[in-house]
């Protein structure tokens, strides 16, 4: 797939991967073997009809391709960009055994973008049922659930705490990976077709509690995600220049800090940035830092600086999407593997000036199945840094649980919900996505939203057991 050259894209926030042309898409679609028993679909958390949409695409039937796509996935332009296809659909492609699998993700993105630009197949809904459903959180889980419930004819209201719908798609994932016009385009299109009402600026737990919403709505879906950032328990985390990836990415993406002062929210990175962690959020933080450094250097004529990813395990354990890891390397991010911070050092005016780290080695596998990193005694060293960004995973925000009597939670603050149906222990309340699993992927959240929507629809038809 065509992409902006690494040296060029370091200096802008435009999309990196430029997408297939129609010709390229059709050629790629030709490679699909149309297996009688397609394994790719088994790997998709929302069960996209992959061979069907590819066949239509190959035949030049774009309406058919979009239709086949939308049977299972109402947000293809988003999924095509952010799903980890290499561990889901593409890894199961028969062609992957001999060489390159069909680029299912890129084809999905092509179909999604094509429809977003033309709006040929609006989502349709059944006649109004008179039932009302509240969806709390407008991220991937909430949006997917809202779409599937609204298709059934129920009136859906989505509550979002920030000023813009999309959750992590808007505040977390950067413009150069997922342009916001794509996110807003998909959300607005679906909402218009299905009469979904979105109420931004609503922090549930504060302005209304779940119990209050239950008085007004027949069912509630909680897709509130895992928004609470973690910091390491090491000295020095409160020096100036130390921040959570959530804060940094929100300043950049949601608040458009990279366009300060045209936008009012400032964002600041120094010349030596250390991002702690190696997941997608870490890659995003590192690549945003690099872009900010480059833009700054273009302005003041100075040196751009360095961005490090500091990770306690080895390259084999990097949890980020392969494409993001690869793009980050290409752009010149420096990877410090088998390295773990033990203290952040402060200097003048309380600003961070360095980080004491220790070298690690891999020991026996831990409960995650990955080899456990173990500190090498006596290997401590200092790294000069002026910005530290923690990208270490997140946990559910507890605000939504205020007065949520009877809602059971697991030990890390996640909500206990039935895997198949998304039902929680609180009657008429379903949950799915990161709020149940802890931080995971966009598409697994969409899968959970979809499963819960199916059960909500059954419940509202009176076809399933009550609680």
């Amino acid at each position: 797939m065509p992409a902006q050259a690494p040296l060029v894209r370091r200096g802008n926030f435009d999309e990196v991967a430029l997408g297939f042309t129609e010709e390229m898409a059709r050629q790629e679609a030709q490679r699909c073997l149309q297996c009688a028993r397609p394994h790719c679909v088994e790997g998709c958390p929302v069960g996209v009809l992959i061979p069907e949409f590819i066949l239509a695409l190959r035949n030049g039937d774009m309406v058919g391709a979009v239709r086949a796509m939308k049977v299972k996935n109402g947000l293809p332009a988003i999924c095509g960009r952010v799903c980890p296809q290499e561990v889901q659909c593409e890894v199961r492609c028969v062609l992957a055994r001999q060489g390159e699998p069909v680029a299912i993700g890129r084809l999905e993105r092509f179909v999604g973008d094509y429809e977003l630009a033309r709006r040929m197949c609006p989502l349709e809904r059944h006649p109004a049922t008179g039932k009302q459903v509240a969806v709390v959180g407008s991220g991937p889980a909430g949006l997917t659930c809202a779409v599937d419930v609204a298709r059934e004819g129920h009136k859906v209201t989505v509550f979002e705490s920030l000023h813009s719908a999309g959750g992590v798609l808007v505040y977390g994932i950067p413009e150069f990976r997922l342009p916001k016009r794509v996110v807003h385009g998909e959300i607005d299109y679906a909402a218009e077709c299905l009469g979904i009402e979105t109420r931004t600026d609503h922090v549930i737990g504060r302005i209304f509690t779940l119990s209050e919403l239950l008085e007004e709505y027949d069912a509630i879906f909680m897709g509130t995600g895992a928004g609470l950032p973690s910091f390491m328990r090491i000295p020095g985390i409160n020096y100036n220049g130390v921040m959570s990836a959530n804060e940094f990415l929100t300043r950049v993406n949601l608040m458009k800090g990279y366009r300060f002062p045209e936008y009012d929210t400032p964002v600041k990175v120094g010349k030596r940035v250390a991002v702690i962690g190696a997941g997608n959020v870490a890659m995003d933080s590192a690549r945003c830092s690099l872009r900010l450094q480059t833009l700054q250097a273009q302005q003041d004529g100075g040196e751009p600086g360095e961005v490090h990813i500091v990770y306690r395990r080895s390259p084999a354990e990097v949890p980020a999407r392969v494409e993001e890891f690869h793009h980050a390397e290409e752009e010149g991010i420096i990877f410090d593997f088998l390295t773990n911070p033990v203290e952040i050092l402060g200097g003048e005016k309380g600003n961070v000036c360095g980080m004491r780290c220790i070298r690690m080695e891999l020991g026996e596998p831990d409960e995650s199945g990955r080899r456990r990193p173990v500190a090498i005694a006596g290997s401590e060293f200092e790294m000069a840094v002026d910005t530290v960004i923690f990208a270490l995973g997140t946990s559910p925000n507890p605000l939504v649980f205020v007065d949520a009597e009877g809602l059971e939670r697991a030990k890390h603050g996640t909500v206990v919900a039935d895997q198949e149906t998304g039902r929680t222990t609180m009657p008429r309340v379903w949950a799915g996505g990161d709020v149940v699993t802890g931080a995971a992927t966009v598409v697994s959240a969409m899968g959970a939203g979809k499963a819960a929507a199916a059960d909500i629809n059954r419940f509202l038809r009176g076809e399933s057991e009550p609680w």
Partner: protein, 287 residues
């Protein structure tokens, strides 16, 4: 959008806005805050609730024009609308009958102090209040504070009104005179004032509650930009506060963190003032 219904100019740089936000007003309590964003380009800033009217469905905010956003906010008029108005956020003040309490409001901090003093008074406390500002024209709501206080001491740093003193001074005297009686102190104002109030009360071991106003984005626990160091570790002002035990706050860290974006803040103010001058010149030129 959230409509501005009423505006009062309390001083050259201190403005009051009454904003229509019925759902927020229904729940708001003393001690809580809202997050405000003026328009699509705007930043999100926390402002403490100065008052609320559940029946009218309004929230009153008071702010001092110290940066670009507050200057722009101060230039808005009734009928104008705010893009974002989120709340009520944070924990409300724990109101009980503590006996005798002191409420200290400094500068624009007098605004959030008022509903707390009122609630404490309604709960049966003997409320001794101290309000102060740098100079006379930065003082406001003396009458309102007097109405909910058993005693009110007014001071200014420069002596232009009331007593010439910084607020910790009369506070220490109160603690000396009525030491055993006073069980709790509230202090809201600039961080440096809250620091010195906390230092002043420490020898008397009187619990001192401060309301912190830190850098924040979402206001609901997501960004962590508002972290404050307490004796027991870092906490988030937005969800764990905004009120904390002033004796446990690491004030130097708090003061340093407030300075982090100073350069950008000054740049934004310069550009805003430049834009205002240009617009002013254009208007004059056109007339």
């Amino acid at each position: 959008m959230y409509k501005i219904l009423h505006k009062e100019v309390l001083s050259d740089v201190t403005k009051l806005l009454v904003v229509a936000a019925p759902a927020v007003a229904r729940k708001a309590r003393a001690g809580q805050f809202v997050i405000v964003r003026i328009d699509e380009q705007g930043e999100r800033i926390p402002l403490t609730v100065a008052d609320y009217d559940r029946e009218a469905g309004t929230i009153t905010i008071i702010f001092q024009e110290v940066g670009k956003t507050t200057m722009q906010l101060g230039a808005l008029e009734p009928g104008d609308e705010l893009a974002t108005f989120v709340g009520p956020l944070g924990h409300p003040t724990e109101i009980e009958n503590y006996g005798a309490v002191v409420c200290v409001g400094g500068g624009v901090g007098i605004a959030p102090m008022y509903p707390i003093a009122r609630a404490l008074k309604e709960a049966g406390n003997t409320v001794l209040s101290i309000i102060g500002a740098r100079t006379r024209n930065l003082l406001f709501w003396e009458d309102k504070m007097r109405a909910v206080s058993d005693e009110l001491i007014v001071c200014t740093d420069d002596g232009s009104y009331g007593r010439k003193a910084l607020v910790p001074e009369p506070l220490k005297e109160l603690l000396e005179q009525r030491g055993g009686e006073i069980t709790r102190v509230w202090a809201i104002g600039p961080a440096i004032m809250m620091k010195f109030v906390s230092l002043a009360t420490q020898p008397y071991q009187v619990k001192t509650i401060v309301s912190l106003n830190t850098i924040m984005i979402d206001g609901a626990g997501m960004c962590g930009g508002c972290r404050v160091l307490l004796e027991e570790g870092a906490q988030f002002v937005c969800v764990d506060g905004p009120e904390f035990d002033g004796h446990k706050v690491n004030w130097d860290n708090l003061l340093a963190r407030q300075q982090f974006y100073r350069e950008q803040e000054q740049q934004a103010v310069r550009e805003w003032e430049h834009k205002c001058r240009l617009e002013g010149a254009l208007e004059k030129g056109g007339a």
